[in-house]
């Protein structure tokens, strides 16, 4: 699956790489065992860590969240995301924790959670003191399990770990007789995997350019880094288009997206979430990201995606999904309730009577029949191909 990655597009567009300077050489980040902000165990199991991270990254912090985060970490709020930890030295490897490592990587807002996990797992291999392949594999398995259990609500984290295990351990490395060369081969592969995952967003942005035409109106829901990348590239290619951003309650992710787009001089209109159907007739295409792409070819994404897709379908507008292939998960929800719920607090601004129940689920499932195409780093896929890729990968 990975070797088919369409990364050649990137190679053609080397000159555009400089503009992608938001991340400054993430590889050189030092390890920091001293990070206590995120403990090894999820501080608040009820709340989806995934959405907290997103909220932190996107700089949209709700009051509720702040209060909870403070309560959880004992007054040590840690949303200064670009903080640089000074290395505490790697001698303390005994209590080396993959979760700490992961949290370290995760603090970079441009780095996807799955890529962070992949990098963390790669560093597990690097720092492993195992002397046999079996030992190493077990260690890797444990680390990935720890990561997965740390946040069960993040689909891309789980999928990324699974894919990493498949990709890295299913190699010819086992044929090497010498353990060290086998290990270095594993490491090489792990790094390649990390590299591909890291590049994925650029590839998707390149692939999707053919679909954005001059004068089109694009409806975007929520804040997705991939979608932003797509739109940014389109703007850089001097395409003329305008964007409708939904507000993206409750964490108002749409506001942030509209900020970013305004910086790029793209005409943006902000809609409240309930105005989607009202403005759909002006829209030429719907662009959404995805938390996870499931086996049916449908997507799990921020709450509201499903209804937008339904409206778009009924008005015959194409719905495009931009998702990296490390979000492909072996899940198959049959309906909306058939998922691990990802809960998040919702700030209504006014106190809610205790008798009133609040739906706090953060995401919904959009079945494949409402999606037109998926832009992934494997290429532009129809929903039904997703399952083919997954079967081939996991079979």
């Amino acid at each position: 699956m990975w070797y088919r990655s369409a990364s050649f597009i990137l190679d053609k567009q080397q000159q555009q790489q400089q503009q992608n300077d938001t991340v400054t050489n993430p590889e050189s980040r030092p390890l920091s065992p001293a990070s206590t902000a995120m403990a090894a165990e999820n501080p608040n199991a009820n709340i989806s860590m995934y959405y907290q991270t997103r909220a932190a990254h996107h700089g949209v912090v709700t009051n509720d969240w702040l209060a909870q985060a403070q309560a959880a970490v004992g007054g040590n709020t840690d949303d200064s995301v670009s903080d640089n930890y000074v290395s505490g030295g790697e001698e303390e490897n005994k209590r080396y924790s993959v979760v700490d490592e992961f949290n370290n990587w995760r603090k970079q807002p441009e780095l996807a959670e799955a890529v962070a996990a992949i990098r963390a797992l790669a560093s597990v291999i690097r720092s492993s003191q195992a002397t046999t392949m079996m030992e190493l594999e077990i260690e890797l398995k444990k680390a990935s399990d720890a990561l997965k259990s740390w946040d069960t609500t993040s689909i891309s984290l789980t999928a990324g770990c699974d894919l990493f295990m498949r990709y890295v351990t299913r190699t010819s490395a086992l044929e090497y007789e010498d353990f060290n060369s086998a290990k270095s081969r594993l490491l090489e592969r792990a790094e390649k995997f990390g590299e591909i995952s890291y590049k994925a967003r650029r590839i998707i942005a390149m692939l999707s350019q053919d679909f954005i035409f001059d004068g089109c109106t694009i409806l975007v829901h929520g804040f997705s880094r991939v979608v932003l990348e797509v739109l940014r590239t389109a703007a850089q290619n001097k395409k003329l288009f305008r964007v409708f951003c939904t507000e993206g309650r409750p964490d108002r992710t749409g506001l942030r997206l509209s900020n970013e787009l305004a910086k790029l001089d793209v005409p943006v209109k902000l809609l409240i979430d309930s105005a989607v159907a009202y403005s759909m007739d002006e829209v030429d295409m719907v662009f959404v990201g995805a938390d996870g792409v499931v086996e049916s070819g449908g997507i799990i994404n921020m709450m509201g995606t499903y209804q937008i897709a339904l409206v778009a379908k009924s008005m015959n507008k194409p719905v495009y999904v931009a998702a990296e292939s490390y979000k492909f998960a072996r899940l198959y929800p049959l309906d909306q309730k058939d998922m691990v719920p990802a809960l998040r607090p919702i700030d209504f601004g006014v106190p809610i009577p205790s008798k009133v129940e609040v739906e706090t689920s953060a995401r919904d499932y959009t079945p494949p029949q409402y999606l037109t195409l998926l832009f992934t780093d494997l290429g532009v896929l129809t929903p039904s191909v997703v399952s083919d890729e997954l079967i081939q990968l996991y079979l």
Binding site: E295, S296, G297, R330, Y332, L334, D335, D338, P368, S384, S387, D388, I391, Q392, Y394, L395
Partner: protein, 632 residues
């Protein structure tokens, strides 16, 4: 299949031999000869002209014949006139393996040979080796008369000509004793043909093919080795297709083709009587009057020699409806085949691979006569045949048998039993507490799933929807209620009423076709459509071995017709007699379908041993499964 093996097994070593060895080589080859009819085959020395100690039972295997021939050529021209005449007739040394000529040259090729055996003066050998030849001739004649090959009359013309010429040559050259021997042989062949019953054509074709092919090759091989090898292989492959056509009535034979039905009837063991008034659209499907043949067949049990008793028993149980359900029928069939393989011993002049395949073909055609094959059975048969064909040539008979039996065992345990367990494991994750599950008729996989979910302590209720005339759901209901599962039983008429309270629909399948269509018990499509209309997810539980690469758009072109009486009468209720005596009315056509096709639009998910997949991914499974199948 077997006929393809013939040229290959024989020719492969030959090519090597011609290329690198002196004429003395054949002896060496026959000793290590891979497809030698194993344990019962006489040693080479017995067959050689000097060794006259052959008992009448020991029929010299045809391959030895050929080696004999080739060994004799350098010594002199013992049969040269004949051989030359024959070679001139066919005029293409390669030609005997052209599929177009394949049906008759056997006879012509064998005729000149058999007298030659006689001339060498071993009467025992004479008598025993001849039947095969005469047999072929009888068969060939019959074929010329009845069974014109579909690809044109010109071949037949050629064949007849050849026959005439060779016949003339025969008359000129044979002595009185030889002619008498020939006659005797023909008589014996006829008797054998009668005795063999339904299996004869297939077997005979094979023997003819094998017997005839070899001497010819022995001759021609000297002339041009490389071209032969290539063309033989090609010809062999094409023969395969042709042979298959003749072997058994095609599983999907068009029963509105009067000619073919007539032919199939001649061969059949089970004399099914056909129902009279059939629905126009379904004329192409076989429809029989049910239940009339059973006693007669049961009485035949001890007289039947072509069909192994175990297979016979299973066939009768299919006919009586004792065994139903894709998996159960498949397992029963495979176990019967196992029994028959256990009791199998290769006839002396045949090779196991070819003969066993023929035998299996015979069994299969018998089973088809009892009840049309289910798709799962078709796939299992295909599996078994490829296993037989892939047997290493150097295995002894007992080893090969053990191989096959363990292969079958593995198929049953891996592809059916284990697969079901995996399916249950996957599917149980889709059952939540408080669910109301609906199932239709009786599927073994769904039953296992429900029982397992109950064992896990999940709280759910089951709605069993059933339909006349089979009422299979009642048995399922009985078993589930016996385990303490809360059940509701209703007929399909009420499905739209009951559907609004259902949260999941679990259905079994006879097969899943590659466009995602689910081929299952009639009524399934109806249930799935209603469920889809009510936005209830439809989950199909089906083992991956039942996936089929066929594409089917409706339930008409391939289906099975049940007993029409079953729908016109209600057992146990005498007062419903409105249709009594109407069965023969011209204007009444009763249609009792067994299967239907559910379009993939109505299917939310297919649960297989490879996990849960959308119906659009069936081709992927078919492809991957095939690949795995090849190298297991």
């Amino acid at each position: 299949m077997d006929s393809r093996r013939v040229p290959r097994t024989v020719s492969d070593p030959k090519v090597r031999q011609v290329g690198f060895f002196a004429p003395a080589a054949p002896l060496d080859r026959s000793e290590s000869g891979p497809p030698a009819p194993t344990s019962s085959s006489p040693p080479v020395s017995d067959v050689s002209p000097t060794g006259n100690s052959l008992s009448p039972v020991m029929i010299p295997p045809p391959r030895h014949l050929s080696t004999d021939l080739s060994r004799h050529f350098p010594l002199g021209p013992p049969v040269s006139p004949l051989r030359v005449a024959r070679a001139a007739d066919t005029s293409i040394p390669v030609g005997s393996y052209n599929p177009s000529e394949f049906s008759t040259p056997p006879a012509t090729a064998e005729d000149p040979l058999s007298p030659r055996w006689g001339r060498r003066g071993s009467s025992g050998k004479f008598a025993t080796s001849l039947p095969a030849g005469g047999f072929d001739m009888a068969l060939a004649k019959q074929k010329n008369a009845v069974n014109l090959p579909p690809d044109g009359g010109s071949n037949v013309e050629v064949q007849k000509e050849q026959k005439a010429v060779s016949g003339k040559a025969l008359k000129e050259k044979t002595t009185k004793a030889e002619r008498r021997a020939l006659q005797e042989a023909q008589r014996a062949a006829k008797a054998a043909a009668k005795g063999e019953g339904s299996k004869t054509p297939a077997a005979a074709v094979n023997t003819a093919n094998s017997n005839a092919g070899k001497p010819v090759k022995a001759v021609s091989q000297k002339k041009d080795s490389s071209s032969i090898a290539a063309s033989e292989k090609k010809g062999g492959d094409r023969q395969l297709d042709k042979d298959r056509k003749k072997d058994v009535p095609h599983p999907r034979m068009q029963f509105d083709d009067a000619n073919r039905v007539e032919k199939a009837k001649k061969r059949s063991v089970v004399k099914q009587t056909e129902a009279k008034n059939r629905v126009e659209l379904f004329r192409h499907l076989p429809q029989y009057e049910h239940g009339t043949q059973l006693p007669e067949l049961e009485s035949k049990f001890f007289q039947l020699d072509t069909v192994h008793p175990a297979v016979y028993k299973v066939g009768l149980r299919y006919l009586a409806g004792d065994i139903s359900g894709g998996n159960a029928r498949c397992i029963a069939m495979l176990q019967a085949f196992q029994e028959s393989i256990k009791d199998y011993s290769t006839p002396p002049e045949k090779s196991l691979i070819r003969d066993l395949t023929t035998k299996i073909n015979g069994y299969v055609s018998f089973l088809i006569e009892c009840r049309p094959l289910s798709i799962s059975m078709g796939i299992a048969i295909r599996f078994l045949k490829t296993r037989i064909a892939q047997l290493p040539l150097n295995l002894s008979e007992s080893e090969a048998k053990v191989h096959l039996i363990s292969d079958i065992d593995r198929f049953i345990s891996e592809k059916i039993i284990l697969a079901d367990k995996v399916i249950v494991k996957h599917a149980v994750t889709k059952i939540r507490d408080g669910d109301v599950l609906l199932t239709y008729a009786s599927s073994s996989a769904v039953e296992m799933l429900l029982l397992h979910a109950h064992e896990l302590g999940k709280q759910f209720r089951v709605v069993i929807v059933d339909s006349r005339p089979k009422l299979e759901g009642q048995k399922l209901l009985r078993r589930l209620v016996g385990k303490g599962i809360n059940c509701t039983y209703t007929h399909i008429n009420a499905v739209s009423y009951i559907m609004h309270e259902v949260s999941r629909v679990f259905l079994g399948a006879s097969s899943v076709l590659s466009n995602g269509t689910v081929y299952s018990r009639v009524g399934t499509a109806c249930v799935a459509m209603v469920a889809h209309q009510f936005h209830v997810p439809v989950l199909i539980c089906c083992e991956a071995y039942k996936f089929h690469e066929r594409v089917q758009l409706d339930s008409i072109c391939s289906n099975e017709l049940g007993d029409p009486d079953a729908i016109s009468k209600v057992s146990g209720r005498k007062e419903i007699n409105t249709l009594d005596g109407w069965a023969n009315s011209e204007n009444l056509q009763l249609l009792n379908l067994t299967y239907d096709a559910t379009p993939s639009d109505y299917v939310s998910m297919i649960i297989t041993d490879y996990g849960m997949i959308p119906p659009t991914s069936v081709p992927v499974i078919v492809r991957e499964y095939r690949r795995e199948h090849l190298w297991i």
